[in-house]
Symmetry: C2
Subunit: 494 residues, 2 copies
Amino acid sequence: MGALDEGRFTGEFENEMKLGFGCGFCGLLEVEVEDSETSVIEGAVKVLLQGLGEDFNRDGLKKTPLRVAKALIDGTRGYRQQVNDIVQGALFPEAGVGSGIGHAGGVGGLVVVRGIDLFSYCESCLLPFKVQCHVGYIPSKQQVVGLSKLSRVADVFAKRLQNPQRLADEVCSALYESIRPSGVAVALQCWHIQFPSDLETSDSNHIAQDMDGWASTSVFSGLGLFKDKACDVWSDFLALVKFKGAIALDRKRASSWCPSQAVVMPECNGHGLTSLPNPITESNLRILAKLGATHSTMIAAVTLILRALGEDPLRKELVNTPRHFVKWLMKFKRSTLEMKGNGFHYGSEVPNPNCIIKESGESERVRMRSELNLPFWSQCEHHLLPFHGVVHVSYYMVEEAEALDRSSLQTIVHFHACKLQVQERLTKQIAESVNTVSGGGGVMVVVEASHICMISRGIEKIGSSTATIAVLGQFASNPLAKAMFLQMISIRTS
Amino acid sequence: MGALDEGRFTGEFENEMKLGFGCGFCGLLEVEVEDSETSVIEGAVKVLLQGLGEDFNRDGLKKTPLRVAKALIDGTRGYRQQVNDIVQGALFPEAGVGSGIGHAGGVGGLVVVRGIDLFSYCESCLLPFKVQCHVGYIPSKQQVVGLSKLSRVADVFAKRLQNPQRLADEVCSALYESIRPSGVAVALQCWHIQFPSDLETSDSNHIAQDMDGWASTSVFSGLGLFKDKACDVWSDFLALVKFKGAIALDRKRASSWCPSQAVVMPECNGHGLTSLPNPITESNLRILAKLGATHSTMIAAVTLILRALGEDPLRKELVNTPRHFVKWLMKFKRSTLEMKGNGFHYGSEVPNPNCIIKESGESERVRMRSELNLPFWSQCEHHLLPFHGVVHVSYYMVEEAEALDRSSLQTIVHFHACKLQVQERLTKQIAESVNTVSGGGGVMVVVEASHICMISRGIEKIGSSTATIAVLGQFASNPLAKAMFLQMISIRTS
């Protein structure tokens, strides 16, 4: 638990808040954020780690508070940026066609920048959400703006706590005010990660492969000639956005798209294992500590983070945010439960279509079993941000054992994923657990994951993904078995 | 031409080089680049603009020298970064499985980060090239590295003048030295933009739609356990990279992948129009000024840029770079030629499959003609970086006129694209030219383009693209005609 006295800690926060805070820095461009904000957030993150049952002095977590503080401050840098500073130097005189004969260039010719990838933070739960942004404007006064500025302005508002509709409206009006064109249109497609409890009821293969598991919405905003969404220019704009292959846009509002609002989440009951799937029962697990008093402390810590970022925690959209974020975090509460191999549901006799049997070698024929695409969500312990993806498992059965059914393997995956983790360790732990419950004949595990920390933080490598391998027993000594399983994954998941 | 005395200018550069330069700053992390480097590059860019027949004091170009200098310095920031500073704080102890029983976690369990999007600069021609980078390593000593660091280290070497194989080798050995793992593997897929002269011989529809027109190559580098590319771990690595959907990797070297080396380019002959397609003849054009003496000055200017970036212009891979870059630039030399409408080839009587005839209204039935997907390459005047894409044209024929054939329209597109441009103006100019040669019945032009400046500079919005519209005559007054053409584009290009 570490050596922290919670009362003292909270007191220190309050002093720092009084000393270090004001709203004065919000209006300045790229002002160096004062150390006091960073240290407030660092302290708050330590409280959160404690609440998760973690020792924030252990190696993997030592720098997590600082990393999280830096990421949050950078991720909300939009509060300290001014649109006019971005646009001012990038307005270029550009003659349009003469009035009366048509529209082009600097007069009335629609300009659309499509497919701008952004990341923003959900004001309802503090988790990042992905945005694909399309901006159109109709120049006036023989002036066009540098194309990259549309993207930069959008990013200023994305880097704040947002919901999709407000983000669209703010980008739209900022461009309208700064460029002074005849009209501005903004269309956003937004994707929000789901909470693990939502995933349980869905078809897991489906989610794992096409990411339909994300909550998504499309929102629109228009000013000037785009004020009326039924007018011709909106059709032109949407036609240009669509024929680039963007998905069909509907015009529903995104008032409650965040899963923290839509889903009734179970109250935190201290064991943090409510997200485990059905087959696991409490008899399989020894429940650790009650969450108890630290819950409200965690909520207070998130409130302090909001204030440190320059936000007003009493703004009505933010009032429940600390509670939502803590509920999300508690899904990854550390458990010291031991999993007992003998308590598992073993498989039915019905052949599982996901079970592939090795074809060569009669003696091994019935002994190598595989399950592909077991979905998981986990929480990166270095950044307190989710990573998620699929697990592929192959194992040798010992002679007297029955095959593990898919839900048993899914239980093992969830058990190890639902805590602060790193992908390498998760891979190893799943392999070791499967090896134990399957009789120790040898296991190979491949984990493929997208890390939100890789796409929402500084480097923003949106298309990247990570794969890890663990091999035990016969898989370690038999390169052919390993190659066969990799090939099977390649064929079955492409 | 501006008021520059070239001799004086070159002299000033040389003084600044003597005063402001040393190789001392190369080894420091994130050192502020001295103003003198920026102003050397600014001056060199002014020489290049002059050589292109441009007045660098005109509105669109005023800030181009500074923008180019900042972009080049930022794009080569890797010379001033150290790998150890990036990796040092991000090595985490992580227990692996016990030796003898398998590989996972911190011992021998392969970790692969796939699909890292990067941009680098080609040392052979100074143009940016796109990289998709896959990195794998096998941890040792119970230590793993933060996943984002693999991406950050790769970026250090991408942000230098490179060729693909050296980039792969440098990333590989830097990771091997800094992480000290059991092995490192790097696979890069690289795409280089082609030069306009290469595009002429290809099927233009094909290029426009799937970007196969980019020169591409795949390169590999391995150290430690990956030193032998025939070993099992290479197969594992490639299997993991492949089953994410990456294209098949072959192992050819990329010694001469840059189009500046592969293609024998015509000598600069002063008119800068060698990239125009066949149907245009010199009789259609009045040739402007000879390039003359400024050619060698331009080459000297690029040499100064290389030195200002901290490179050695005498390094053998760089010796021809200034010449290559100037040849590329000269493809976009400003021409004051007038296009004469009456000199054009008019269309054959054979129905063109790309010509779509309006279906409603007998009187307009034979009068509205369209050509889709006319490819173009142009040069952004704000950043001196290419933008490229396709042009869609629709026009009303006047009664006595014949249809313009595709190659005539392509000639008009090339004529306006092959200079320093902005997309809005290009769209307008194409519309006005087509309107003139087609008899003034009305024209609509849609330009869809990717801007290298949007993806290789600071904001790095790789998936973004820009669409612009110009409408003249009947298209301006008839929303239905406009909507129909947009719908046609949507259907025919999706």
